[in-house]
Each structure stands twice: as structure tokens, then as C-alpha cells.
Amino acid sequence: MATTEKTMTAKIEKVCPPPLRVEKQYFTFAEPPDKMTLESGARLGPVTIAYETLGKLTPARDNAVLITHAFSGNSHVAGLYKDEPENARPGWWDSMVGPGKGIDTDRFFVICSNILGSCSGTTGPSSINPATGKPYGLEFPMVTIGDMVNAQKALLDHLGIEQLVSVIGGSVGGMQTLEWCVRYPKMIRSAIPIATTMRHSALAIAFNEVARQAIMADPNWQNGNYYGSTAPNTGLAVARMIGHVTYLSDQAMRRKFGRRLQDKKDFSFGFDVDFQVESYLRYQGSKFVQRFDANSLLYITKASDYFDLVERAVNHELFRPDEPTDIKFLVISYTSDWLYPTYQAKELLQALKRAGRNVSFCEIEADCGHDAFLIPDERLNNLVGGFIDGIVR
């Protein structure tokens, strides 16, 4: 009897392990006069990076996995913070990252840092400019995906990590993953770019520009100099609403909302919320302004618009057949992603194949659009888990 009870408890613990506890940490570098030189030529310093790690680094330091987050993400990739209650909302990729999950923290040392220019602990336009003692605002220099990657590299140097089992990221995080392969190919054993592109299409740039204009047209924006007064929340909320439309899909919106009305039986014949989809977008917008900085959105969307691997890759070793690199690639796209459709993943695939790179590709059937990679999905977990397993085997 006692044994049975013991086995039962063990079983239950296996099914529901206690939530992983994580801690946000900070690393500051590029202290003046040794400022960081950005791709634009501008110099920035000091630079603080907010990051979180999960799992244990082996003594040989050979089990590190870097996760690069999407445009509005942060370092909180999985688990709960130390002081949070058990029912708090875990990190943004908790379905993928954790003990026994696709990216198994029992085996891998997982690092995720907030990107340069963002607003969740890493230096960005809302940080204090040491030269003036006030927030940077538009004084903040333009940063690129390459600059974000260089900042991550500085963090890895600080952590003493010289080799990565894998770099993994979706969307703008996928761009950073690819940028890593271009800048530091010798450090990387594998790369998993998910729902991403070698460069933005006119459609993607167009949506970003509408989002930026929504912010800049808000009178509270004041040329980016709004810190300490009312923030351009209306503009930022509208920008997020546009973003959400691009992250969903026609099918997903039909399924989720259709033409259903919100808490009413008939039209209001006014401009209040009638349709559920309006209510959803307004809610997403109002939620977003509580956690994101409008200027950060301007900077990061611009960085993603500037990203162009096609232009730069022509002469790069990653895309030249005569330059051997051992990076194993797994490219993943989603059927209903209309922001970075599968044809763009195929362009990447084509470039990698032409260079003779070791590459796998899978298009996942999903109707939820670009955001599908953030939605818990056993298929994605198996793909990523099995692929990484093959790297270390």
C-alpha cells in the first residue's frame, strides 16, 4: 500500500512538476569611453542587458542554447519569477522551454535576453541617457538586428560561453537567429529560424509603417519626448491592433470572431464596440500599453525593416558553397502565416541548399497565422526537441 502511494505521488509529480523559478539578471558593458559601436557608426554606452537563464551549464560549457525573442518579447521565456504565486502567468514560451519539454532545461542551459532598443530591462529609448540625465527618446541611436546580436554576444562572452548547441527564435527572433549564423558561424552547432524571413516584404514594411505613423500621429508622442508626461497610448494601442491583425489570419479570425457581436443583440448604430473582433483588438491594444514603450516599437520595427540577408548574404560564407560550416539548420514555417509566408521560408531554404548547407524544413499546418509558434503545439515541441537531440547525440 505504502509503495503504491509512493509510486502514485512520484507519478503525479512527473505529470505536474513544480513551476520552474527564474530570476531576471542584468549585465552592463560598453562603459564610456569604450562604448559599443553600432552598425550605423553611432556609439552607445553603457549598455545594460536584461537576461534570464534556465537549467545548468555543464563544466565543459557545451550545453548552452540561446533563445532570441520576437519584437515585443522579453527575457522572461519560461517559468515564474521567484516571488510569483504558482498560478501566475509563466514566460512567453513556457510550452516549449522547461524540464522534459522541447527545449529541455534538465539537459540544456537556456539563455534569453531582452533585445537592444527594447524596454524590459535592456537599454533602449526609455533608458536614461548618461549625457543628459534624461531618457534618450529620439536621441537613442538607430539599432539594427546585427547590433542586437552583438549585444547578445557580449553577454555570452561575459557568461563564458563560446559554443551554442542551438540558436532558436521566431519572427524578429528568427532574424536574430539568422544574423547569429552570419556573424558568429563558428560558435553555433545548429539554428532554428521559425516563422521568419531573410528580409521584409513591402507588405511587412507597410504594416510597420502604419504602426509607426499611428504612434507619431498621437499628439502625446511629442517627438518621442513624452517620458514623465502622458505617453502616446492611443497611438501605441492602435499600432498593436494593426500588429495583431497581421499575427492572426483570415481563418483564425473567422473561427474566433466571425461577425459575432460583443454583449449585444443588435448594432448600436454608433462607433462603440459592436463586433467581437473590435473588442478583442481594443483589449489587446489597451493591455499592450501597460507593458511596452512606444519609442521602442518605432526602433525595433525599423530594425526589422532594415534587416536584409538577401542583400548582404551574396558574398557571405554562410551562403557560399566553398566555405564549409557545420551549422545544422531547421527552418519552420506556418501555412496561415501571411506576414512571413512559407514562400519566404523557401527562399531561405533555397539559399542554404545552394550553398550545400545541412538543412531541414517543415511547414506546419495551422490556421492561427504568424503567432502560431507561440501557441502550445506538441508538433513544434517534437520537431525542435528531436532536432536538438540529433545535434548532441
Binding site: 545552394r354 550545400g356 545541412n358 517543415c362 520537431l383 528531436g386 540529433g390
Partner: protein
């Protein structure tokens, strides 16, 4: 990889596997669940890549650590540089290809040797069905009806020999086989192969 016991592999794949040199570069078109690639990777240490149209199968291959591209083999082969592979394998796929001549032309560009296996449409059981019943024939190797068959090309061993020559290939190896249930066991057929073999396996090279 898990499949080190090759008796669990389809009999025609075991023959193909025996033809592959160690540490060669292999492209498996229509690789299915990746059994052949997994075996070749583990036992012959090949650098293998597979192409598979079916998303679940492709995902299963990747999840077992194989390099596999999900997509249409006819277009996927176009992107590889010349002479990328020592062997290109087309196992039980040719009968489903819309333009076999165009495909074989592409394969001669990217691979040194092409290995093709397909069900033999001139097996006596098929001939007898057509002769006596007058219906589109079915057997274990070709189990579909005329209206739902993915096998849009009916090929006989004799047809393939002629076709290989017409598209500029030389046959360097040829084996005809019969398999029993589930295709796991089998034996080689040595005489009257066009009449008696269920499958043909050919290794061809560009002249």
C-alpha cells in the same frame, strides 16, 4: 539512430542500402518515415538528406534527428548545386511522378548514381487479372483502384530498361525481387523477371 536492426526495414530498402558506399552523400526522394536514411546514417555514416511531401512524415523524420525537407521532390531537387550527392534514391516513388523524364534529367545533374525501385506492372498476377477479369488490376504492391491510385505511371521492368536508355542513362546494376507480406522479407528473382518479380531495383548512371 534506433533502427540498427535492418531486418525491420522494407526488403527493397535493404537491397538499396547494401549498394550505398560508406560515408557517401545520399539524397532520398520520398523518404517516408526515414527508415532507410536512419539506417544509412547509423550504419554507413552517410551524410543523408531526405525530401518528403507528407508533413507528418517529414516532421517525424526531423524529430528523429534526420535532415529532411518537407516539399515537392520535383521542385526541391532544382536548388541543389551540381554533383551534390553520390547517390539519389527514388524508392517506390517513380510510379507517382508526373514528369519522370524531366526528373531523371535533374537527378543526373545533382547525383553521380540514381537508384530507382518500383512495383513491376507486368507481374503475372496483374496480367492474369487483366486477361481474365478485364478489370484494372490490384495486388499487394499496387492495392489501389483506378480512381484513387497515386500511382499514375504504370511501369514494367522492360519499360524501365528502355526508358533509362532513352533519357541517357546506363544501367549499372539491376535486381528483381519478390517480397512477402508487409514487404519485410523477400528473395531475388533470377529468371523471367518481368513476369515473376513484384519489384525492380535499378542503379543507373549518366552515359
Amino acid at each position: 539512430m534506433e533502427l540498427s536492426d535492418n531486418t525491420l526495414m522494407r526488403y527493397d530498402l535493404r537491397i538499396i542500402a547494401s549498394w550505398i558506399e560508406k560515408e557517401s552523400r545520399v539524397l532520398d526522394l520520398g523518404c517516408g518515415n526515414g527508415d532507410l536514411l536512419a539506417w544509412l546514417t547509423a550504419d554507413k555514416r552517410v551524410r543523408g538528406t531526405g525530401i518528403e511531401q507528407n508533413k507528418e512524415k517529414a516532421a517525424a523524420c526531423i524529430a528523429r534527428g534526420l535532415s529532411v525537407l518537407q516539399g515537392d521532390l520535383n521542385t526541391e531537387v532544382e536548388d541543389y548545386p551540381d554533383h551534390s550527392f553520390d547517390y539519389v534514391i527514388l524508392s517506390q516513388t517513380l510510379q507517382q511522378v508526373y514528369e519522370p523524364a524531366a526528373l531523371l534529367h535533374s537527378l543526373s545533374r545533382i547525383g553521380r548514381q540514381v537508384i530507382v525501385s518500383f512495383p513491376n506492372f507486368s507481374h503475372y498476377s496483374i496480367r492474369l487479372q487483366l486477361l481474365f477479369k478485364g478489370l484494372a488490376p490490384k495486388n499487394e504492391q499496387l492495392p489501389y483502384s483506378w480512381y484513387d491510385s497515386p500511382n499514375i505511371r504504370v511501369i514494367t521492368l522492360a519499360d524501365f530498361r528502355k526508358f533509362a536508355g532513352d533519357v541517357g542513362y546506363t544501367i549499372v546494376k539491376e535486381v528483381a525481387i519478390n517480397t512477402d507480406h508487409h514487404d519485410l522479407q523477400g528473395h531475388t528473382v533470377h529468371w523471367m523477371t518481368n513476369l515473376r518479380a513484384c519489384y525492380g531495383i535499378f542503379a543507373i548512371e549518366k552515359k
